[in-house]
Symmetry: C2
Subunit: 342 residues, 2 copies
């Protein structure tokens, strides 16, 4: 690894002190440093292809000018949107965005550790079906002075802000809609952890709402209609196809993601079934694609495509605040949005 030039080198080349180099590079003392000196420094810097070392800057300035997004997997559309919005907000104030992907619980530990190590000046924890940060860890982080926004329906604010979405209620509405029409066999296309892991199953809003609605309507849950790991397009298609081939095929499909719901629509159409007459389909979350399926997909989720500028604001308010801010809690509007597929 070639030794990179440092401010020392630039100073030497320009015939000034490192202090002057620092001033010039940061545009400080702008009107006290004469243009010729300034030029000498700039030219030396250019000549050496110098840029200040980030780690040294962070150490000295006591901030990284990075924010961190913690997600549980890559390629989920709604998380992409979150990343985009955060990125844009960060960019506006010259901050960068770094993403940590937490595919498993042990990786959750790792993410906590990195946050602890002040790898970023603030963080957003995205909703997840996989990992459960211990509330205690989050509290520790916040108490340590890390601006933190947690998107989660159950965690209690403890020095950090919380963003909620009333998923359970909204899903319940959708299920009621499905069941009130007399349909009794409703399949569930869920995420892996949501369905398989007993703890997370109990905590899952979508799965919970599904089971609870069934119970409310006096229907015994049929485990053979509950599919795990069917949250993305291919698995969703395969699961739906299989379900719809059965002689006792379901009259409705409730999918825990919009992607698998869209796949379910294809599967139904490919099977020659009419939607919603032969089989109704509902998904969770609002993707733009919802508007281009035939029929248009009914969803439970926000009324329009999700937008996370509010979440960004929570974080950056905290980040830029001088003193510690009170905890805030915001709720994203979720509701059952009937379109054509129910």
């Amino acid at each position: 690894m070639a030794r990179r030039w440092t401010s020392q080198d630039v100073a030497a080349l320009a015939g000034v002190s490192v202090a002057t180099v620092s001033y010039v590079m940061n545009g400080r003392m702008i009107d006290r440093i004469p243009a010729p000196t300034r030029e000498k420094v700039l030219s030396a810097a250019r000549q050496l292809d110098y840029s200040p070392n980030r780690a040294a800057q962070s150490l000295r300035r006591q901030k990284t000018e990075q924010i961190c997004l913690v997600v549980d997997s890559i390629g989920v559309p709604v998380i992409d949107q979150l990343a985009r919005d955060l990125h844009a907000a960060a960019d506006d104030i010259g901050y960068g965005l770094i993403t940590i992907v937490v595919g498993s619980d042990e990786r959750g530990e790792k993410a906590t550790r990195l946050l602890h190590q002040r790898i970023a000046d603030g963080a957003v924890i995205a909703p997840s079906n996989v990992f459960r940060f211990r509330e205690e860890s989050l509290g520790d982080l916040a108490r340590g002075g890390l601006p933190l926004v947690v998107m989660n329906n159950t965690v209690r604010p403890a020095g950090f802000d919380v963003v909620r979405a009333p998923e359970r209620e909204a899903c319940g509405e959708a299920m009621d809609h499905l069941l009130s029409s007399g349909r009794r066999r409703v399949a569930f296309l869920g995420h892996h952890e949501e369905v398989t892991n007993p703890t997370t199953r109990a905590e899952s809003a979508r799965m919970g709402a599904y089971l609870w609605a069934l119970a409310r309507h006096g229907i015994d849950a049929d485990e053979s209609l509950i599919v795990e790991g069917a949250d993305e397009r291919v698995a969703g298609y395969r699961a739906a196809t299989e379900l719809l081939q059965r002689p006792d095929r379901p009259e409705a499909i409730f999918a825990a993601s919009a992607r698998s719901a869209i796949s379910a629509i294809w599967a139904a159409r490919d099977a020659g079934l009419a939607i919603p007459d032969d089989v109704a389909v509902v998904g969770c979350g609002n993707l733009p694609e919802t508007e281009i399926t035939r029929p248009r997909l009914s969803t439970v989720g926000p009324p329009t495509t999700e937008d996370f500028t509010e979440v960004s604001r929570l974080l950056f308010d905290r980040l830029l605040a001088k003193e510690r801010l009170p905890e805030r809690e915001i709720t994203n509007p979720w509701a059952f949005v009937p379109r054509g597929s129910t």
Copy 2:
């Protein structure tokens, strides 16, 4: 922002020196430090909720233990796969992955600057339709000692590794296939920059292959069949729908992405058209979804879903090498893969 505890504090609390704290925290001198001392340190660290400051570590160790992925937008499936593979590889050796999104050219400058500042120990530049890193910048970066892998078909290796995909040839094959069957009206669903910007249009392998094939077969390009900004699902669907409603509708659609090709299939089916008899469809890139469309989507791309472990290896070989490595160049196999839609 609460002052975080430092190794000094831990040392004081444990009644040892900072060196010992460092040794214990890093598991060094593991067999020279007696268990009781070790315990004291660990307990003090736990008590103060201490973790070593990352910036200080990086500065001292002269490495960040992060790698950086530079992409031009979020939410492109193939890039997600790349991110996943890199992430996994990084994880294996205790490295983190940070992603920089370069939505525009000025942001490209910023990315270069960050890389220069040694925000990471190595970087992968993903293929892009948007930004053009100046070869010179990349060379500078590499000359500065940054392990770098660039995924690009035109750039020359200059201290970094290059990953290519023979897109132009493969696309040409697909176009030949389409045109040889007697079809003359072939639409193109392209990315924004690919179609609109004269420079990038000229450089685009997919657009280029399309135009070139047309010329080869003695067909005048019809600009009204060329759609820009139709690289994602919704735009692709809308564009295809519009195209297929025309009285002189195209006999084939060549899409520069797999997602828009899949949308084109839906659009055709929704319009009651038979594929490939009424309209043939080809996309670029290999998504798993390709297997679940009806008919299955013919693509130009790698034979199986893309896998970037080779790319990861290039980077990590460089990263872990003691001395500077020779430049390597690998070529991902791209070809026309006819399935059902042509």
